[in-house]
């Protein structure tokens, strides 16, 4: 794996180099003083991760990363900035996958990059990686988008009102969780509760995200998913989320189960989106394989955006929870059961009992009402 670090302050790079050498990272690291130098490095070799400062003379971080997004969409883009100004931060939101605030310890940085590596290895498909890497946001359900716009027009709208809208929509929720789990927008706390995430960001930030940040959008462009299919997917996800949080009761955190349930099918939204259809000859074959991969793609997407690991893991395994290391009634199992019930699939009752779901299937079916 090759990682490129970009900063206009050579001392920041030098100190990072020292720390990473000492920490014995087994990836290849390169350092570039500024945007132009970074582009030269990127042209000369294949990189997997770019970690860039925002404010730099000449070409700044936002300009650099948007170039990287266009030319090398498979590259994981991470901002490491000393900026505290939210207006500036919104420029980063559109071009980066994760936003880290300086000072950020090199151990923690190593973890972030290691995690990216695991995700890439887990997905193991550069074409899909590029499709996901390019995404600025997922399509929101048009109705909820209208609701959000209307709520934001009202100066008196509370964070609770916004949260009630956001938590129904996988697209908005993934964005909000992405931001709140980055050290830039909150202190890097791991937050899985969508309501708490919206409250923590606050109405002002959510408003700025919606207006200046361009963080939410309904799918309307031709070639993208039809509004109707986005809306259908949203309703199904919301149903899964609700059932998951009911099942979760006294097994796992219901708020996390809700989020994982809501997000478990984002891979489908991504794979039926426009970019995945970019033909390179064997389109039919790709699409068939993609259908099997949606859980992995969804998990890769959420992991790339820095969502809490339990959610990523649950989404990755919600079709085959027995693959996880967890053998009790954990988050993957809860989401799996919820998805089975909502989609009308028959869950394997012996596995259910094996992992410790005591209730009868009909009890759980009742939860879908």
């Amino acid at each position: 794996m090759k990682v490129l670090f970009v900063d206009d302050e050579p001392r920041v790079l030098e100190a990072l180099e020292r720390s990473l050498f000492q920490l014995d990272v087994d990836w290849n690291v390169t350092f570039a003083e500024g945007g132009q130098a970074a582009l030269r490095e990127l042209a000369a070799a294949r990189f997997d991760v770019v970690v860039s400062d925002m404010r730099m003379p000449g070409m700044d971080g936002a300009a650099l990363l948007s170039q990287v997004c266009k030319k090398y969409p498979h590259v994981v883009r991470i901002v490491l900035s000393g900026q505290t100004d939210e207006a500036e931060a919104f420029r980063a939101v559109r071009v980066a996958h994760q936003f880290l605030a300086k000072p950020f310890s090199s151990e923690a940085l190593r973890q972030v990059i290691e995690r990216a590596r695991l995700l890439m290895m887990g997905l193991g498909d550069e074409r899909l990686q590029a499709i996901v890497g390019r995404l600025e946001h997922l399509p929101s359900a048009p109705q909820l988008m209208d609701d959000l716009t209307r709520a934001l027009e009202d100066e008196a709208t509370t964070a609770e009102t916004l949260a009630a809208i956001v938590r129904q929509d996988p697209a908005m929720s993934s964005k909000v969780l992405q931001l709140v789990n980055s050290s830039f927008f909150s202190n890097g706390a791991s937050i899985s509760d969508i309501r708490a995430a919206v409250v923590r960001l606050g109405t002002k930030t959510v408003r700025a995200l919606a207006t200046r940040g361009g963080a939410f959008a309904a799918s309307t462009k031709p070639g993208e998913l039809s509004s109707a299919s986005v809306a259908t997917a949203q309703l199904r996800s919301l149903a899964t989320a609700r059932v998951a949080s009911r099942i979760a009761k006294d097994k796992v955190d219901p708020a996390a189960a809700f989020a994982a349930g809501l997000l478990c099918d984002v891979g489908e939204l991504i794979l039926s989106g426009p970019m995945s259809h970019e033909s390179d000859g064997s389109e039919g074959e790709h699409r068939q394989r993609d259908a099997l991969k949606h859980a992995e793609v969804g998990a890769f997407f959420l992991g790339l955006w820095g969502l809490p690991f339990p959610i990523v893991e649950a989404v990755a395994n919600h079709h085959a929870p027995s693959r996880t290391a967890l053998h009790g009634p954990g988050l993957p199992q809860v989401v799996w059961l919820a998805a089975c019930l909502v989609n009308g699939n028959e869950p394997d009752t012996s596995y259910l009992r094996h992992i410790g779901f005591e209730g009868s299937l009909s009890d759980y079916r009742a939860m879908t009402e």
């Binding site: 001392r11 920041v12 100190a15 990072l16 730099m56 505290t84 100004d85 207006a87 000072p103 310890s105």
Partner: protein
């Protein structure tokens, strides 16, 4: 922020209007008196009976007394309005300063966070390095001791060897001193910015005190560093012989800050925010016979003809919301001209840049910050 909320009942424009109206009334009244007095004087020279003259004079005098009383009342009103205006201006100055500091705060945070990043990386590095060094040292000392006591060292040597490898000693020997140097340098940078911030915002006395302008300007340049460093280089060329100049330190700093920020904005405008070349801001100071002159030159957009008459007007701005409120130069004018009896002007060439020129008297005229009431004629 609107001035209305800052100033309480009356906003600055409203107050200015009130003072204008009062001054007009006062002028009208004074004219009446002049006419009356002229009449008295004039009538005395005409041929009239003494009694008539006396009668006229008494009537006139009564009128003069009455009018004078009115005038005095109005003068008092005017004085009060002026005092309010002065207070309002002081508040405005404070408000603009807070606003400027608010805008600077984000930049200062960035200026602090960057060195903090490498200070903490370097100290974490040093800490881990020292652990490795100590282990190696202890193992080596064990060998020394064994040799001294004539014991067998064959089991101890490989231990030292492996520690030498895992601790990456040769690497540490080169990098550890550098890491510590840079950590120290980074802390120095943080300390400088914090100190500059403290000096910049430290409440100075309401009296003018002799100030070394070069030091004051250096502080302001440091505080504003984030505003210019991506856009321009700053050159400070002060006459080394310049004596301390009596100024209100805080207000003076604020003026220089406003001018530097304006210069940076003007340069940002012509370099696409620093992505197309760099500009230059030059601050030069010269000493004259009884005054000093400070010139702040930028290589920015220049001021277009139609704007030249307006730039010192309060709330005149060509900048986007959040970037400017149009108070910077109005405040600079009030501070330099009203409070220091100096002057402020500019030379500008569209496409070339702008120079703002400040002069300040070397001797305090003693009127500056005093109450305005006694200045009223």
């Amino acid at each position: 922020m609107t001035t209305g909320t800052v100033l309480g009942e009356l906003s600055l424009p409203e107050l200015t209007l009130k003072v204008d109206a009062l001054e007009r009334k006062l002028r009208a009244k004074e004219k009446t008196i002049r006419v009356l007095i002229q009449r008295v004087e004039g009538s005395a020279s005409e041929v009239h009976s003494a009694f008539w003259v006396l009668e006229q004079n008494i009537a006139l005098e009564k009128m003069v007394v009455k009018r004078t009383a009115e005038i005095n009342a109005q003068k008092e009103q005017l004085a009060q309005a002026l005092a309010e205006l002065q207070g309002a201006q002081a508040k405005l100055l404070q408000a603009q300063k807070l606003e400027a500091i608010g805008q600077l705060a984000a930049g200062i945070a960035h200026e602090v966070n960057t060195p903090t990043q490498y200070v903490s990386d370097n100290t974490a590095f040093a800490k881990r390095a020292v652990v490795g060094l100590i282990e190696t040292l202890q193992a080596s000392l064990a060998v020394v001791q064994a040799v001294q006591e004539g014991r067998d060292t064959s089991t101890l040597i490989p231990c030292v060897d492996s520690l030498l490898k895992t601790a990456k000693i040769p690497y540490l020997l080169v990098q550890l001193p550098r890491a510590l140097d840079q950590a120290q340098e980074g802390l120095g940078r943080v300390a400088t910015i914090v100190q500059a911030m403290k000096e910049f915002s430290h409440p100075s006395s309401a009296e003018k005190t002799p100030v070394n302008l070069r030091e004051a300007i250096e502080t302001t340049i440091a505080v504003a560093r984030h505003e210019w460093k991506y856009l321009a280089d700053v050159d400070l060329a002060m006459d080394p012989e310049m004596p301390p100049v009596p100024v209100l330190r805080n207000e003076f700093n604020q003026v220089i800050l406003n001018l530097i920020v304006n210069a940076a904005h003007a340069i940002g405008g012509v370099t696409a925010g620093g992505s197309e070349g760099r500009g230059k801001i030059t601050i030069a100071g010269r000493t004259g016979v009884d005054s000093v002159e400070i010139r702040i030159t930028d290589t920015g957009s220049g001021i277009p003809l139609h704007a030249r008459a307006k730039v010192f007007e309060p709330f005149y701005t060509t900048k986007a919301v959040g970037k400017g409120t149009g108070q910077g130069l109005a405040i600079a004018y009030s501070v330099i001209v009203d409070k220091h009896q100096g002057s402020i002007s500019f030379e500008t060439e569209p496409g070339q840049g702008t120079t703002f020129i400040i002069t300040l008297p070397l001797r305090d005229a003693g009127l500056g910050a005093a109450a305005p009431a006694k200045d009223i004629p």
